[in-house]
């Protein structure tokens, strides 16, 4: 349960109710579709029903003739753009095939949903009607859908490339061949990590308003600053003349970490027509064109000695990128490669990635982005090795954990894990789960025909994006620094405004940042306003993704606040005729050490600062800005367990218990951490059991709505048990790590291991996700002789 208020100076660590909530629970939030502007026009897209086709002709005459229709545009109309849609990853020394990708197709469509034309008019319904009257003649071409077939040969998604291969990228440490030579047991598996959707409940939406040479774009985005940069570049505008506002955003999950063609088109059309243009995405559009995630087929190979010591782990990933590279598409599998050794001391680790185009929606970052896939490969394969060795799955984990005293730990993949106590989180998990009692119960239930299983996952990940020197152009190759900014302004009255360069969209950062600032300035967090998501307010920012907003954005807020505190102390010291070093913040007052009665409230300090009665040589005002570039990533970790029942008759899985012990450093607000874990875990459970973006072999999307894309409901899930350990990160002053993706990174592997544990007496030793009833039933019934793995077909 939350609390409404914490004792003065003790807000950090308290489960404070969220500042964000009052408007959201009373219907006064402000999402993009809630905004209307005078004279606003509506846009609706004509989208390809074909997976691969040439556009022979487009006839817009009937559509443009309809009442209330102002314009219909096709790809060739947008010839004045400064360039195609961006892809921002250029790894040094690696060739990446990157075909042009436009907001509206130019001559060819490459996946179902690819936009062909846009209708703009005066009414939400009328523009949708008119799209039906745009007649497009397609010359259908054979589609390539299966990534393994696509990498082996044609047809080619982009004919001019003469290949479907996007790139190859390897990260290797040690010598895996040497490691396998030292192994007594080698386990190899084909791991399929199927395609999923981001599926925020708010679809995308934009309103572009170009007037008098300046552009304002409202967009349901996680990355307003990146969107501003590319709108300016592609429309030939100064960045100072482009303002991007992310108002309340109804979830992102990586899907809204993108620069989308629809954003660019709305801006372009608003400039052309001189009126605001709004586009509100439908769910079926969101399911077919908003970028998707995962979709990897990997061959994994793990070697271990008889005593359980892992000697080598080699992963070959074939990553299906769909039809185009989006902003970070080819980078995504690499994010997993950096933590391919997991929590373990593995001297030889290698990840080989091959990216491939297919006639499907593009993939890019979806919650976890490469790291859920890595964890699935590590943690499921480790269980397979343990089984092969006749070892307990927890024993093999403990045997290989990087010990606490090794941190900071340089691992084979070349990164340095900041801090960790893997035994600690697993010990804590064992306080919640009585494994011996479970095994006895499991044995008994099996005699009754009930197949219950337990699965574990001890995970770590790389987040807190990011040290710019590592991720930037000369390092990993992202064409941006990933520092973060903050500005803290104390007003005349002592109220405080914090401008963060992050762009939270549900995580509760307004509350967490207010807690941090309140303690440092000696004020109530209720008088600390946190502003984000508007490029015209506050300094340049790098926005929200990669579990970065607290570890990177929050630390920037700390640094800016500390500058304000230092200035305030100097002012107080002058006023009270004391030394600045002797001023401390106690009970909401800046006072002289040892004389708590003698002091000034922040409002009094601000009064002095704004009247200008500051010490000689000091600038007036009380406002400071910081740009913080972290020294390293942060590496949160945890230990999760899950208990499931598998109905052997129907193949249906029921999650009975899920216990998550996580460590993201000291809690700023434990209620928010639990909330992130709950939601993240369901994203992972959802992938393991229910969710799958499914295309048929012609490239037709089967899962185009929530009718056939199965998001978990409350009815399928149990309540969760969460607990924490708190191991400080040395990277930032608060010792914090990210938590937004943690649950998702752990959960699909836990559930998979639990299902396999349940299925073993039925002869199934391995199965890939999605663990749907049909696939499990097939695995049970094919388990004698045939491969239970089942490939991609369901």
């Amino acid at each position: 349960m939350s609390v409404t208020e914490a004792p003065s100076g003790h807000n950090v660590g308290a489960a404070l109710r969220r500042k964000e909530d009052p408007p959201l629970i009373t219907g006064h939030g402000r999402y993009v579709d809630d905004i209307s502007l005078p004279g606003m026009l509506w846009a609706s897209f004509v989208r390809s029903p074909e997976a691969n086709a040439k556009i022979a002709s487009i006839d817009i005459s009937a559509a443009i003739a309809r009442e209330g229709i102002i314009a219909v545009y096709v790809g060739e109309d947008m010839s004045d753009l400064g360039g195609p849609l961006p892809m921002a990853w250029a790894p040094p020394g690696v060739e990446v095939n990157n075909p042009e990708h436009w907001p509206l197709a130019r001559g060819a469509v490459k996946h179902v949903g690819d936009p062909v034309a846009v209708v703009i008019g005066e009414d939400r319904y009328a523009v949708q009607d008119a799209t039906e009257d745009v007649l497009v003649e397609y010359e259908t071409l054979p589609a390539i859908v299966d990534p393994e077939a696509a990498i082996a040969g044609g047809p080619f998604v982009h004919e001019s490339l003469g290949t479907n291969k996007v790139h190859e990228w390897t990260l290797a440490g040690g010598d895996v061949e040497q490691g396998f030579a030292e192994a007594d047991v080698i386990v190899e598996r084909r791991v399929v990590n199927h395609r999923i959707a981001g599926a925020p409940i708010e679809c995308r939406g934009v309103i572009a308003d170009y007037r008098a040479g300046s552009l304002t774009l409202y967009s349901a985005t996680q990355v307003p600053h990146f969107v501003r940069l590319f709108m300016a570049l592609l429309l030939g505008l100064g960045e100072d003349h482009v303002r991007v506002i992310a108002p309340d955003v109804g979830g992102g999950f990586g899907q809204k970490l993108q620069v989308y063609g629809e954003e660019l088109l709305a801006c372009w059309a608003s400039r052309k027509l001189g009126l605001p243009v709004k586009w509100t995405e439908t769910r079926s559009e969101n399911m077919s064109v908003a970028h998707q995630g995962r979709d990897q087929i990997s061959h994994v190979k793990m070697g271990a000695r008889r005593d359980g010591t892992i000697t080598a782990f080699h992963v070959k990933i074939l990553a299906d990128f769909g039809a185009y590279n989006m902003i970070l598409t080819p980078l995504i599998p690499s994010l997993g490669a950096f933590v391919m050794g997991g929590c373990y001391k593995i001297p030889n680790v290698q990840t080989d990635i091959t990216g491939v185009f297919t006639n499907k929606c593009p993939t890019d970052a979806i919650r976890g982005a490469g790291r859920p896939e890595a964890t699935q490969m590590i943690e499921v394969t480790l269980d397979q090795v343990a089984h092969e060795l006749g070892m307990d799955p927890l024993e093999i984990r403990r045997k290989n954990f990087i010990p606490k005293e090794d941190f900071p730990a340089a691992v084979a993949t070349g990164v340095v894990y900041d801090s960790g106590d893997y035994h600690g989180t697993l010990d804590k998990l064992m306080e919640h789960v009585d494994v011996a009692a479970f095994r006895a119960e499991q044995e008994q239930l099996r005699t009754e025909g009930i197949y219950r299983g337990i699965g574990f996952c001890t995970w770590t990940e790389i987040c807190g994006l990011a040290p710019s020197r590592v991720t930037g152009p000369a390092g990993v190759g992202v064409q941006a620094g990933l520092w973060e900014s903050a500005m803290v302004r104390v007003h005349n009255t002592g109220a405080v405004t914090v401008y963060t360069g992050t762009s939270p969209h549900g995580q509760g950062l307004d509350t967490a940042m207010a807690q941090i600032v309140a303690d440092r300035l000696g004020v109530d967090p209720r008088v600390v306003e946190v502003i984000h998501g508007d490029t015209s307010m506050g300094p340049e920012g790098r926005n929200t993704y990669g579990s970065r907003s607290l570890a990177t954005g929050g630390e920037a807020v700390v640094k800016a606040t500390d500058k304000v505190v230092a200035k305030a102390k100097a002012i107080v010291a002058a006023e009270l005729e004391a030394a600045a070093e002797d001023i401390e913040v106690v009970d909401g007052k800046f006072s002289v050490k040892g004389s708590p009665d003698k002091g000034m409230a922040l409002a009094d300090v601000a009064g002095v600062a704004y009247i200008g009665a500051v010490p000689e040589g000091m600038e007036p005002g009380l406002e400071e800005t910081t740009f913080y570039d972290p020294e390293n990533f942060v590496f949160p970790f945890g230990a999760h367990a899950c208990i499931v029942d598998v109905d052997a008759e129907t193949g249906k899985v029921k999650v009975l218990r899920y216990v998550a012990v996580d460590d993201c450093g000291p809690a700023i607000n434990p209620m928010l951490i639990d909330g992130q874990i709950h939601g993240g875990v369901v994203h992972g459970i959802g992938q393991a059991l229910y969710e799958r973006v499914h295309y048929d072999d012609q490239g037709q999307l089967i899962t185009g709505t929530f009718i056939n894309y199965a998001l978990a409901t409350a009815a399928e899930l149990p309540s969760f048990e969460t607990d924490r350990t708190e191991t400080r990160s040395p990277v930032n002053s608060m010792g914090v790590k990210g938590v937004g993706e943690a649950g998702t990174i752990a959960a699909s592997a836990v559930v998979t291991n639990a299902v396999i544990d349940a299925l073993r007496p039925l002869g199934v030793d391995y199965i890939n996700m999605p663990l749907s009833p049909m696939r499990i039933w097939n695995a049970i019934h094919n388990s004698e002789g045939a491969s239970p793995e089942g490939g991609l077909s369901s």
């Binding site: 909530d21 219907g27 309340d248 769910r283 929530f706």
Partner: protein
């Protein structure tokens, strides 16, 4: 297309609205009456973000035509409680961190309030099944279920929406 006039009592206020016969109730509320607290999330009646109360029952307003609501009494999230006078369900969602991005929240709160008016003291299982028509991507439902159970516990048996 012909225009029809419908009479709607929304949150206790009478409105007369001119609509196309095909206009969805949710669009009449949002675009014509400016009540944007009721959201659209899926277009197929799966997500429940558009849930309101129509003559006391929870309905998905994306699956009701405005003309079908002619003469009805409607309550939207804006009419359930205000920031100064929160409905117990709104208070419970705030206290229990029952929301993150807030997009599913109005529908979730309206569905939850209707659930308690039919079953004032539900079990956890009854809450979970009672809310299976409302999707949330942020919370994993844990704190939503906790919020509803908390509201039930704090309310008198005759709690109503």
């Amino acid at each position: 297309m012909s225009i029809v006039t419908v009479r709607l009592n929304v949150n206790g206020v009478e409105h007369s609205v001119d609509v196309e016969p095909r206009l969805l109730l949710v669009h009449a509320l949002r675009d014509q009456l400016g009540l944007t607290g009721t959201h659209v999330g899926c277009d197929t009646s799966n997500c429940g973000a558009c849930t309101i109360h129509m003559d006391g029952a929870a309905v998905k307003s994306c699956t009701v035509l405005a003309v079908q609501a002619d003469g009805s009494e409607l309550t939207t999230i804006e009419g359930l409680g205000t920031e100064d006078n929160l409905h117990p369900m709104q208070e419970a969602f705030w206290n229990n961190h029952g929301l993150q991005c807030g997009y599913c929240t109005p529908g979730m709160i309206m569905a939850s309030a209707a659930l308690l008016s039919e079953n004032p003291h539900p079990t956890e299982d009854e809450v979970r099944h009672g809310l299976e028509g409302n999707l949330c991507r942020c919370t994993g439902y844990h704190n939503i279920v906790k919020s509803v159970l908390d509201a039930a516990e704090k309310s008198s048996p005759e709690v109503s929406a």
